[in-house]
Symmetry: C2
Subunit: 120 residues, 2 copies
């Protein structure tokens, strides 16, 4: 319950892109780690705001009206209901905070949906 978690060790333990792993849980929220490369899909979350902190690399978050670049040491909060699509030319390592109920593809669903996330 009060163990120290090393982010790099957790990141080194998986390779898959677009498959967030649960590394902590508090107050009904998850701390997740993910690796992005390529382009994901457009989606939004009806009930969940999402926090993305870049641990290494950078990525672009596409919104319908703008694109923002998030570099290492920077974070972005995507409010519920806002359509977004993450894209990374090169691999980026990201920490997420979001409600435990958050589904990776939001309201869009489809083949890239993960029904269950691994806890690592």
């Amino acid at each position: 319950m009060t163990d120290v978690v090393n982010l790099q060790k957790k990141l080194d333990s998986f390779q898959a892109h677009w498959e967030p792993k649960i590394v902590g849980e508090l107050n009904g929220q998850h701390v997740r780690l993910a690796k992005f490369q390529g382009e994901f899909i457009w989606h939004s979350h009806a009930e969940e705001d999402e926090f993305f902190l870049v641990l290494s690399g950078s990525f672009e978050m596409l919104f319908r009206d703008k694109t923002v670049t998030v570099n290492e040491g920077e974070f972005l909060i995507v409010p519920r209901g806002v359509e977004h699509c993450p894209r990374a030319e090169n691999e980026v390592q990201v920490m997420l905070f979001e409600p435990a109920a958050t589904v990776n593809t939001g309201e869009t669903g489809g083949p890239r949906t993960l029904d269950q996330l691994d806890q690592i």
Copy 2:
């Protein structure tokens, strides 16, 4: 609402120790940045779990039955109800994730309590 936040720029904008600043809000939770140096006070939070991620430096979290060291790139979750006391020999920069209602001194209160946190 979807602005990118640079952690170092925010950290460079304040000096005070033990005075967390709000840098983001989502799902009723705050993302806070803080600088610790010296020893805080023993306290617990009846209703809130707290997440501490070290951005630079290191600190010790004292528990009643053990002490853990949290280094740069590591995080610790302190569950609600668990007494703790952070201590840092040298300045440490920390990102916190916790419910917006979380009071810095928890149930202990006293002169080090901050009634309101700055949003920076």
